[in-house]
């Protein structure tokens, strides 16, 4: 599982590298474009995702000590928080479409450096989109785990699936921990 996660580091790492490259070249335009993102929603989502990591860790703990009710409860809580995150993301994406900030023929950006801003939003959608896809896959895996946990499959003798799902979920959380400052916070201070 860890080896798979390392391949995932490089998968997301390619996008992060592209981001670093273009931010270095067009830092000013990226800062302006970044200020079109909703900081409140981003910060709220960060808290939600950290909370879901906590509930996932508690679910792993419940699996290891064999508490069936707690397993189901915490797995469902993790799914709930994950769904809240994706729900907020839907609202955010809808806003971007509404304001014409989606790269493509209908991209309408009022400000200097429109092409570079379009690049920022391309990266924004690619990175958050790939992240959201990982969360959707995670929700699917969690749904299977809930069914298995209800059937009492996990206990002190066998909790590997829950542990591995936990690793995956925390990894996706880590990706967001880096995405949030890079996409939302780079130019909030008004200067630069």
């Amino acid at each position: 599982m860890w080896v798979f996660l390392v391949t995932e580091i490089m998968f997301f790492g390619g996008l992060f590298t592209a981001y670093v490259m273009y931010r270095t070249l067009y830092s000013h335009a990226f800062g302006d474009a970044s200020n079109h993102l909703d900081l409140t929603m981003g910060a709220f989502n960060t808290v939600v995702l950290i909370g879901s990591s906590l509930t996932m860790a508690l679910a792993v703990h419940a699996a290891q000590v064999g508490k069936r009710g707690a397993q189901v409860l915490f797995l469902l809580l993790t799914m709930l928080l994950g769904s809240v995150f994706l729900g907020v993301k839907v609202v955010e994406y809808a806003e971007k479409f509404h304001h014409g900030l989606v790269p493509g023929p209908y991209f309408t950006y009022h400000g200097p450096d429109a092409p570079q801003a379009q690049l920022f939003f391309s990266l924004y959608f690619a990175m958050t989109g790939l992240h959201a896809l990982h969360m959707i896959i995670g929700l699917g895996i969690l749904a299977v785990l809930v069914a298995q946990a209800r059937a009492g499959r996990f206990g002190p003798a066998y909790s590997t699936p829950v542990e591995l799902t936990g690793l995956y979920w925390h990894f996706v959380d880590i990706v967001w921990i880096f995405l949030f400052p890079l996409l939302y916070l780079i130019a909030r201070h008004g200067g630069a």
């Binding site: 670093v20 990591s53 703990h61």
Partner: protein
């Protein structure tokens, strides 16, 4: 797999630490510190990621081989980003006409 159980108090402590760091990174971003802004934001992100890796992902209680695999992953990522940055950061060092 290491079936190491971590006490619940540790989980909640890490959760609180992550929340505090999130608040810190948001408030730090609103202050103009010039070039330091991005450094602080990324430093906090690295600390948060490290906490998640060590405690939520049980890396602290994992065998050496797991440590090695994880470190190598991040090392390669660092190499990739460094080599990419060699291009934009060194443009204009040579006095040649730009096309």
């Amino acid at each position: 797999m290491s079936a190491h159980t971590v006490s619940l108090r540790v989980y909640f402590a890490i959760f609180l630490a992550l929340l505090v760091l999130t608040g810190l990174t948001v408030s730090a971003a609103t202050i103009d510190l010039g070039r330091l802004n991005i450094v602080i934001a990324l430093a906090i992100a690295v600390v948060k990621a490290t906490l998640v890796l060590l405690y939520f992902m049980h890396l602290r209680y994992s065998p050496r081989l797991t440590w090695l695999v994880v470190s190598v992953g991040f090392v390669w990522l660092a190499i990739m980003i460094t080599i990419i940055l060699v291009d934009p950061l060194t443009r204009g060092w040579l006095m040649v006409a730009r096309p």
